[in-house]
């Protein structure tokens, strides 16, 4: 009798653990989605930039809620995964935008440096030409006939 009760308790604990494990996986996904969206929406520019993927992530979250409410945990988890995927898209979009801005700035600096190089080269060539003119005049003056 005692042994039978222990088996039932063990089975109940195992079942509860499995249910809790499946539930906590979904909870992590949802938490990552909420945190990710909140982080992006802190910044007005990012919020505007990521409006489309964030809207899709929120819609997927809503679907997951409805499915969960209807007791369809299997599909709710898939919808959670979809929400997470759109959140990842938004996060990567923010990263790409920042990197593109940085690349644009670096390109502008390089272009500006290129222009300065060309200006400096022109100034140098002008100075070298002037030196050549001075040198020729000096040679003429220093020649035996004194440039006459």
């Amino acid at each position: 009798m005692k042994r039978g009760r222990l088996v039932w308790i063990a089975l109940a604990v195992a079942g509860l653990s499995a249910w809790a494990a499946s539930f906590s996986f979904g909870a992590d996904d949802r938490s990552a989605v909420d945190q990710g969206i909140a982080e992006i929406e802190k910044d007005a520019h990012q919020k505007e930039l990521c409006a489309d993927p964030i809207a899709k992530a929120k819609a997927a979250e809503e679907r997951a809620k409805r499915m969960r409410a209807a007791g369809d945990e299997k599909h709710a988890k898939l919808a959670d995964g979809l929400a997470l995927e759109w959140t990842r898209v938004a996060q990567e979009l923010v990263r790409a935008d920042a990197l593109e801005t940085r690349a644009h700035d670096a390109r502008a600096l390089a272009t500006d440096a290129g222009a300065r190089v060309e200006r400096e080269r022109a100034t140098l060539e002008q100075q070298l030409a002037e030196n050549g003119r001075l040198q020729a005049e000096l040679a003429k003056l220093e020649s035996k006939d004194g440039g006459k």
Binding site: K74, V89, L93, A96, A110, T123, N131, L138, L141
Partner: protein, 353 residues
């Protein structure tokens, strides 16, 4: 939901199992992302795996799960495109950074070459000036007494300028070619000028000046050392010492320096401050020139007092030379009693090597 309903209706009517519309969307997303695979291979592989799951689950008959996987595959393809954008931007930034570094190096090299060319140009211009002066026109003819007196004053000024230029040349290089001969000629010229000659040796004085300028220029060319003159000029300007440039180098002019033959108390800290600046530019020798408003003692006691104050500030004693110019190089007419006090001054010249 509408699409799913339509899909169910079509399926019911036809009796066949049609393609899930979302799977067609997945294929379009895959086609649009194909090129990005090179930049984001891992993300593309994950998206392809999701696409595979959508297809196989659909084949197994679970349309709702297949739709969710298909949507996830579409999102994963978009994620792939974002990763590719990031990778492309990172590569672009790295390329621009490398180009900037290369252009910066190029710019530095060009700036250095331009500075050298400008120095060469300055030197050529000076040599040209000397060459032109050497070819000065025929000797000055006789003139009336008043004009002759003016010529005598000009001769004295030119002779003094020559002495200062030769003095600067000596500071640059004590073995400068032609320096000794030029100094001997100058001594002879000074003797002639002291005797108040009937005819002013204006041409001789002009030649002496040109010769000394030529010696200084040649000494500089031989020396060929880079100096910190430009930095010094900025520092002196920043210290409100109103520096100027002349053929010798950078000149700071000070007035009201002496009380008798000693340094006046208010001038002492100014001179010591100048000595501190000089200590930071040890490559530049210093010429101290004392000018008077009216004829005064020719003893170099005052010039030595100035040198001592500079040394107290940190200047090197062996880099300082003193000259007593007296009244021979005025800046205003010495006969103008109201303004001639301006002629009393001390020039501290940082000779450009």
């Amino acid at each position: 939901m509408k699409r799913l309903a339509l899909f169910a209706l079509v399926m019911a009517c036809s009796g066949a199992r049609p393609q899930l519309p979302l799977l067609a969307d997945v294929e379009r997303a895959r086609a649009a992302t194909a090129q990005e695979g090179e930049l984001a291979p891992q993300a593309l592989a994950e998206a392809d795996a999701e696409r595979g799951r959508a297809r196989s689950i659909y084949e197994a008959g679970d349309d709702i799960s297949a739709s969710l996987h298909a949507e996830r595959a579409i999102a994963a393809y978009q994620y792939t495109r974002m990763v590719a954008r990031s990778a492309r931007a990172t590569a672009d930034a790295a390329k621009a950074d490398a180009e900037l570094a290369q252009k910066t190096d190029e710019l530095r090299a060009l700036e250095a070459a331009r500075k050298t060319a400008e120095r060469d140009g300055d030197e050529l211009a000076k040599r040209l000036l000397i060459a032109r002066e050497m070819k000065s026109p025929a000797a000055s003819g006789p003139a009336d007494a008043q004009r002759e007196a003016a010529r005598l004053r000009a001769s004295r000024a030119l002779a003094m300028q020559a002495r200062l230029l030769c003095g600067a040349a000596k500071l640059v290089s004590s073995t400068a070619a032609g320096l000794d001969a030029a100094m001997q000629s100058l001594d002879a010229l000074d003797k002639k000028l002291e005797g108040s000659p009937k005819t002013a040796p204006i041409d001789e004085a002009a030649r002496a000046r040109t010769t000394c300028l030529s010696i200084l220029t040649t000494a500089r060319r031989a020396n060929a050392a880079s100096s910190s003159a430009d930095v010094l000029l900025s520092e002196l300007s920043a210290a409100s010492l109103s520096p100027t440039r002349d053929e010798r180098g950078i000149v700071v002019t000070m007035r009201d320096v002496f009380r008798g033959n000693a340094i006046d108390a208010p001038a002492q800290p100014r001179l010591e401050a100048l000595g501190r600046v000089a200590s930071a530019h040890g490559d530049l020798p210093i010429q101290v020139v004392v000018h008077d408003a009216i004829a005064a003692s020719t003893s170099d006691e005052r010039a030595k007092a100035v040198a001592a104050a500079l040394v107290k500030g940190g200047a090197k004693a062996d880099k300082i030379a003193t000259v007593m110019a007296g009244t021979r190089a005025p800046v205003v007419d010495p006969n103008d009693a109201r303004n001639r006090q301006r002629n009393a001054r001390v020039e501290i010249v940082f000779v450009t090597p």
